[in-house]
Symmetry: C2
Subunit: 115 residues, 2 copies
DNA sequence: CTATATACCTCGGAAAGCGAGGTAGCCTGA
DNA sequence: TCAGGCTACCTCGCTTTCCGAGGTATATAG
């Protein structure tokens, strides 16, 4: 049947950068922690896979939105901490604006009894 | 630079079925008209391309969410009119629920000063 | 007869998510 | 001692779906 596959599977597309940038607004975090924060804050509604998260972090770093440093982990493997650059902050503002416009548009189209 | 490309380009992913199904809630329409309605109702925020729209319609039809009939157009080329099936109505409800959960999750993560 | 608007379609390419799989360090318990 | 589990990172191949470009066809306006 026409199942959850189609909608759910693709919804995350394009919003991961926003989620990552927003998560890093309060301070630096490492990748695994970012994923956990997104899950928690979204109330488990969003759960980006590692196969999506790490490439997204690399992209943002390559674009200059994030800076990263390796740190030896206390009681655990080494971690890569990410923080926003000035450009990243601007990218976050842009991403929020884009998301608001997009979500608003979808809501207007999907709203019942609009004409 | 980290430009609009990244967010905007992929945002539509996964929401097209919802937009199409919602647009057809009030009655049958043909493809071109559906595209126009989405543009109008979203306040020009959403403008799915034909290369995305027609395949999406075919997918929904193949899945049984839509039924379609050809009609000779009065003053113009022939048109294919789409309408919701019972299954399509259910799919619409599901898509709306998924969208609400997803958008809510993104908003919670992106919201400033949440903890 | 050409241009424009409507209306449909398909193709190739790119982007980005997912799952599976792999490496590695540390801790716990049999 | 060593198996299992948690943290933490990474990559690869697969899939989906979007976009843009291009193509067909009909009707009307100039």
């Amino acid at each position: 049947m026409f199942e959850d596959r189609q909608i759910r599977a693709q919804l995350l597309k394009g919003t991961l950068p926003l989620l990552i940038l927003a998560t890093l607004r309060d301070g630096e975090l490492h990748g695994y922690h970012i994923a956990r924060r997104i899950r928690e804050r979204s109330g488990e509604a969003l759960a980006p896979s590692e196969g999506a998260l790490y490439p997204a972090l690399h992209r943002l770093e390559a674009e200059g939105a994030l800076e990263a440093t390796w740190r030896e982990g206390e009681g655990g493997p080494r971690r890569r901490y990410y923080r926003l650059t000035a450009g990243g902050l601007a990218a976050l503002a842009r991403a929020e604006r884009d998301w608001a416009a997009f979500a608003g548009g979808v809501n207007r189209v999907a709203a019942e009894g609009s004409s």
